[in-house]
Symmetry: C2
Subunit: 347 residues, 2 copies
Amino acid sequence: MKGKAVIYTQDKFVQNYAKTAHGLIRGSERYEVVAVIDRAHAGQEAGTLLDGEARAIPIFGDLQAWLETGSEAKYFIIGIANTGGILDRAWFPTIKAAIHAGMDIVCGMHESMAEIPEIADLARARGVKLIDVRRPKRREDLHFWTGEIREVTCPIVPVLGTDCAVGKRTTAKMLVEAFRARGKKAEMIYTGQTGWMQGWNYGFMFDATLNDFVSGELEHAIVTCFRQEKPDIIFVEGQAALRNPSGPCGSEFLVSGGATGVILVHAPARTFHKGWDKMNKQIASVASEITLIEAYDVPVQGMALNTMGMESEEAKAFQASYRAQFGLPVVLPVEEGVEDLLEIWMG
Amino acid sequence: MKGKAVIYTQDKFVQNYAKTAHGLIRGSERYEVVAVIDRAHAGQEAGTLLDGEARAIPIFGDLQAWLETGSEAKYFIIGIANTGGILDRAWFPTIKAAIHAGMDIVCGMHESMAEIPEIADLARARGVKLIDVRRPKRREDLHFWTGEIREVTCPIVPVLGTDCAVGKRTTAKMLVEAFRARGKKAEMIYTGQTGWMQGWNYGFMFDATLNDFVSGELEHAIVTCFRQEKPDIIFVEGQAALRNPSGPCGSEFLVSGGATGVILVHAPARTFHKGWDKMNKQIASVASEITLIEAYDVPVQGMALNTMGMESEEAKAFQASYRAQFGLPVVLPVEEGVEDLLEIWMG
């Protein structure tokens, strides 16, 4: 039974920073999203605004306006992320109002709400829970890499990207759904807070794990999934990018995670790494990204394009061009789905 | 003023697992090593056994034998590491004896001594300190990457390796010393517990840092060092290897750490990744390692060879062969020093 939830995105619903909100609107087994609170997008419908598909999720300008409708929800979810994972103090009045209204607060930032006295004290007084999704595990609950990954006999496919917030998790989710629609057993290993909030059963918080245990936690999640579900294929949600300046990620999937091949997600209209445009940190070319991935001895098997900032014709031109240049299947997930990638594993 | 210290290596002094002991015997600004406790090597001299250079550090078979000489030391240092960082219960009797003798215990494992009641209670009763070097920093003390690394105008040179425990820190230390011997200002950024124990002033514990903050902690250490010391060059102690199966490391140095070039350390006689030989995890070729590093857009500028398991002639043959194959300076640090690498930066 899903818990009803309101998602808060301040005024950033249409930005990449609201990717937690976007992921939950695309679907969650854990929460039923009943409303979004966003000052800049009041009166619109969240699904339509996200990708053109209506989902009957109204956007309110502030929490009070939603409360006045007489609706109720158990959870208030912080649906935006910041670089560095610090809670923005500008969010506090709304978070406190949600606590006053009796809602449990769900947050995936590094900063723990439980360690902020003005939030923690209020929550205690009001009797609501503070759910810090990204709180690091205790040392004794962490797994070190063992090599058991070799037991897994199905394909293991990390969905990597050339940048952050480019659609890795969404592409992986769509691939799982496409396999399931054909009667196959597919699973996704989550590696971030939104994946957990969506209700995936196997995974860990990549960036909130002590570095020495990242490979072991990854292996443990994949091996446990394989033993319990006996899936036909396992997709793994990638994180950041191999050359993301503020924290490169990806080699763990390729070296320790038993990857049999990679799906690469790329946003052709994006020139600079997200958040670092002022620093002139250009995203490398797709060709050089494929060279780097394959230097880790894992083949890139297909691509998915994020078409944000492009007209339909332009997106299709990039799709055709990458297909020709690399001889790989290339999909536009939001526009056309991911069906064309299935041939990789189904022959 | 250095603190006198006894180092414990169980019976593994000659193995790679004792690399913390080896590093401290090679030199520390923090501790003066007065004895080693190692059951299998009693009666020998630690420096001679390590690299043929006598340092007047006697090895005793057990702590009691050393105590009976009437010597005193403030610190008892665990000088061996385990995969996964769990304290070996076979070490406990000796650790307890050291606590009884009034020594502070220094340990660089992930497992915290303070959380082991039989150790913590005894230490409290005896009034000695438990110094858990690798204890993770608190969230509020961690730095996220900012891009300030661009301020650094001197060369930044990570010393990477094709495997764990191959001589990265020792090579970096020797490079700093060689620069200083020529009247230049050089610094090493430590990234592991042995580096901290050696007394280097700038650095962090790479593998005990939450993954999202590794790049920021690295940047913060380098930038702080640069601002305070104004060095001519900064070497960075690498960790593990880019394709180390139990936890790949290295991309952070290349992508976020402002690396201007890499020194690559390799052990030609080693076939399998340390600890994973039963799993047939072969170390990649030097050529493929250079390809991988340079796919991150940083050049490999020179090499250092670990000659363990080789006769002198064989080592020299590898040296000549790599020089010819890659057109790079290649040194045998323990046998010949690292002087031949200095030309890279001094012209």
